[in-house]
């Protein structure tokens, strides 16, 4: 085991993949010689050559389109979209093409591509460097949407994503690239070395997609979350004094509903937390499915903590970001009901 931050873990995952499979290539804006604006591909072009790790034109639609074509010709491309805020020009290729190809061709063709993209706020990135667009993609069947919350999961899940024969959107919460973040911007930054998720084997391993992780077992209530909000929720739970079970979804779609319903069946109370905007967000889908499957287990209405339904505002980072206080309030509300 080595201590790695999430960037190092992702880099290590891609290193393993490039080493094991000559069909893996990495493409994206600035990913080649420079190694990516977040350094996730640092050193990989130098190690594996330009044909395997290369820069692309600034054309997200073109990046995904050519990745699909490469996938059809037997490669397993990893395409980086520099910020998930820039993924929208590629939506036609992701939604109408990658996600539907297997279905529309009667199973003849498919798109074994992985789209990595840093997402989320907490970095003063304003509305074009802070978005959490996962809910746009969780609405699309055929796509697998993943968001890890720590380096260990990031490596294992990225390897599984690239080895999957379905297109995977792999969102990386950039606020926790360098260390876990509990939502308090005034605390000194922590690195991953003191967090169990920062222990990452250097060798190859993969973690199953479609499987949530119970990051804290508990009996009083269930907190369902993913990405950065796993850490914020954990801190809020500790402050609350309640014995909460925290579920880190890891893969949003296809959803591991069984882990959720099992927990809610046990606790009868539930808070759903995500950073993305509220209306039509993935939290709404989780609430709906819990209502369908666990209505008679519920002791209180389900609470939802999310970003506000505004664009991500630069000067109001911490008023927008759903921090500990908002999660705590929701926990107290479901426990007091």
């Amino acid at each position: 085991m080595t201590s790695m931050n999430m960037i190092q873990a992702l880099n290590s995952a891609m290193d393993c993949l490039l080493d094991r499979d000559p069909n893996v290539v990495i493409m994206g804006e600035d990913v080649g010689y420079f190694g990516g604006v977040f350094r996730a591909t640092a050193g990989l072009q130098q190690k594996y050559g330009r044909q395997r790790v290369f820069d692309t034109p600034i054309a997200e639609g073109g990046i995904v389109a050519t990745a699909i074509g490469m996938g059809v010709n037997g490669l397993r491309p990893i395409a980086e979209i520099q910020f998930s805020d820039y993924i929208y020009p590629a939506i036609d290729q992701i939604v109408s093409e990658a996600a539907r190809l297997r279905y529309r061709s009667g199973g003849e063709y498919y798109a074994p591509i992985t789209i990595r993209s840093p997402c989320g706020g907490g970095i003063f990135g304003g509305q074009t460097h802070s978005q959490s667009p996962e809910g746009i993609f969780t609405h699309v069947s055929g796509l697998t949407t993943v968001m890890p919350s720590n380096p260990y999961d990031a490596k294992g899940l990225l390897i599984a994503a690239v080895e999957s024969n379905d297109p995977v959107l792999f969102f990386e919460p950039k606020r926790i690239y360098n260390g876990p973040f509990d939502g308090d911007p005034n605390k000194p930054a922590e690195d991953w070395s003191r967090h169990e998720g920062g222990d990452v084997p250097e060798e190859y391993y993969s973690l199953p997609l479609r499987q949530a992780a119970i990051v804290r077992e508990g009996a009083d209530l269930t907190v369902i979350t993913y990405g950065t909000m796993v850490h914020v929720s954990r801190a809020a739970v500790e402050r609350s004094g309640f014995d909460a079970e925290i579920i880190d979804l890891r893969t949003l779609v296809p959803l591991d509903i069984e882990t959720i319903t099992k927990s809610v069946h046990k606790t009868g109370r539930c808070v759903v937390v995500h950073e993305a905007t509220r209306t039509g967000g993935f939290g709404a889908e989780i609430l709906s499915q819990i209502q369908e499957d666990c209505f008679w287990d519920l002791e209180a209405p389900i609470e939802r903590v999310t970003g506000w339904d505004t664009p991500y505002p630069h000067a109001f980072e911490w008023e927008y970001f759903p921090g500990q206080e908002r999660v705590l309030t929701a926990i107290e509300k479901v426990m007091g009901a």
């Binding site: 290539v25 044909q51 692309t56 034109p57 054309a59 639609g61 073109g62 389109a65 050519t66 990745a67 699909i68 074509g69 490469m70 996938g71 059809v72 010709n73 037997g74 490669l75 491309p77 020009p89 036609d92 290729q93 109408s96 093409e97 190809l101 297997r102 279905y103 529309r104 061709s105 009667g106 199973g107 003849e108 063709y109 498919y110 069947s141 055929g142 697998t144 999957s164 024969n165 379905d166 479609r210 296809p254 959803l255 509903i257 069984e258």
Partner: protein, 410 residues
């Protein structure tokens, strides 16, 4: 056009509308043989005229002339003629059957048969095709089962798209033919990715892809040309300029001030503008571009200048926006007639043989349709197994789909 000394919003408009007499006297159609045939590895800057003028081989006296004559043997020419005619007969039968309610939809390629058939003839079977819905001639030339094509269009129990696609969105992996998308243009940039992978793997197979004149306005067109130029991808990028994108004439896609072939030059790609109704010219240009790609010269943009003789689809009525019988006045003629007349002039074909062939093909296609119908139609059934509705969304069916399938009761 008179200009005022002030900006004016210019809305392009075709010269003629319904009720007008068809007239193409404004078109500047260069004579046969004006363009030389450069070495395939020529620098694109040296052949600007090839993107502005027109590569033509078959002259008005039905003889092949000029440097671009591919000198094909009579057997190949007859094969091309047969495949074009078979494509037209197939279209006619399918269109008629759609009108009789056997299919929800159909799209013909009448007048454009030379593009797909000549290109499929010029390419290797292992070259990968990323087509639109108007290149059914590719499938017919490569020998795809016509029964399978029909069964797909009928959405019946033998539909290889498993009832998931509207008619004419064929797929044929075995024939190196990519699944057609209904979103126009998406395949253009995907084909470039396929070609990049081919170069990465050291294959010498190339990709070949098509869009219409209207779709050149889509971002995917720009992505394709940019990526193809940047990575020197072995791909042929075809623009089938059939003058019409549903009801919008090619001027709405920007075809008035410059040719579509000329756009390649801005990206550093050679552009060839070809008489799209001339089987020999299309063949020769395709062979040139394919050789260039295989030799490491990268992509070529080919504009096929042609005319969409029939409606956009069975849901369209072109009499609402263009003169009736305009196609009959099209100065580049009918690709089938032109190749037929060429073979007759060569002494390798006759009107009688042609009529005989047409009759044979009509009978063959009609018989195949009857067989296809025996496997069902969309409305009368049998349709594909309802179980298939939930398969292939993912490689492995997730729980939500398994539950939904149970709700359907299968």
């Amino acid at each position: 056009m008179p200009r005022r000394n002030a900006p004016e919003l210019f809305i392009p408009e075709p010269r003629l509308r319904p009720g007008d007499k068809p007239d193409f006297s404004n078109l500047d159609i260069p004579p046969v043989g004006v363009l030389d045939k450069p070495d395939e590895m020529v620098d694109f800057t040296e052949i600007p005229e090839h993107a502005r003028s027109m590569i033509r081989v078959l002259d008005d006296d039905h003889k092949a002339k000029g440097a671009w004559d591919p000198h094909l043997d009579p057997e190949t020419l007859r094969g091309g003629l047969r495949n074009m005619l078979k494509t037209r007969v197939y279209d006619e039968r399918m269109h008629k059957m759609q009108r009789q309610g056997k299919m929800s939809f159909y799209m013909k390629c009448t007048g454009e048969e030379a593009v797909a058939v000549a290109q499929a003839t010029a390419l290797r079977p292992s070259d990968m095709l990323f087509a639109t819905y108007r290149q059914q001639g590719l499938l017919i030339t490569r020998g795809h089962s016509m029964l399978d094509m029909m069964c797909h269009c009928l959405s019946n129990s033998r539909d290889y798209c498993k009832g998931r696609q509207m008619p004419i969105f064929y797929t044929w992996r075995e024939g190196n033919y990519f699944s057609i998308s209904g979103s126009v243009g998406t395949q253009f940039s995907q084909a470039v990715g396929w070609a990049m992978a081919a170069a990465y793997k050291g294959q010498d197979d190339i990709a070949c892809t098509w869009v219409g004149d209207g779709t050149t306005a889509e971002a995917d067109f720009h992505y394709a040309l940019t990526f193809a130029a940047v990575y020197r991808a072995p791909v042929i990028l075809n623009v089938v300029n059939n003058q019409w994108a549903i009801s919008s004439f090619q001027g709405i896609a920007g075809g008035i001030s410059a040719t579509f072939a000329n756009r390649g030059r801005g990206y550093g790609l050679p552009g060839l503008r070809v008489d799209g109704n001339d089987f020999l010219a299309v063949y020769a240009a395709t062979q040139w571009a394919a050789d260039r790609a295989r030799r490491g010269g990268g992509a070529t943009l080919i504009e096929h200048y042609t005319y969409r003789a029939d409606a956009h689809s069975t849901s369209d009525d072109p009499s609402k926006y263009r003169p009736r019988k305009e196609w009959e006045a099209w100065p580049l003629g009918d690709p089938i007639e032109r190749l037929k007349n060429h073979l007759i002039v060569l002494g390798e074909w006759s009107e009688e043989q042609h009529e005989q062939l047409r009759k044979e093909l009509e009978e063959e296609v009609a018989a195949l349709f009857r067989e296809a119908e025996s496997y069902g139609t969309l409305h009368t059934g049998p349709r594909p197994d309802i179980n298939l509705m939930f398969e292939d969304v993912y490689e492995e069916m997730p729980l939500n789909l398994r539950r939904q399938r149970q709700q359907v009761g299968v």
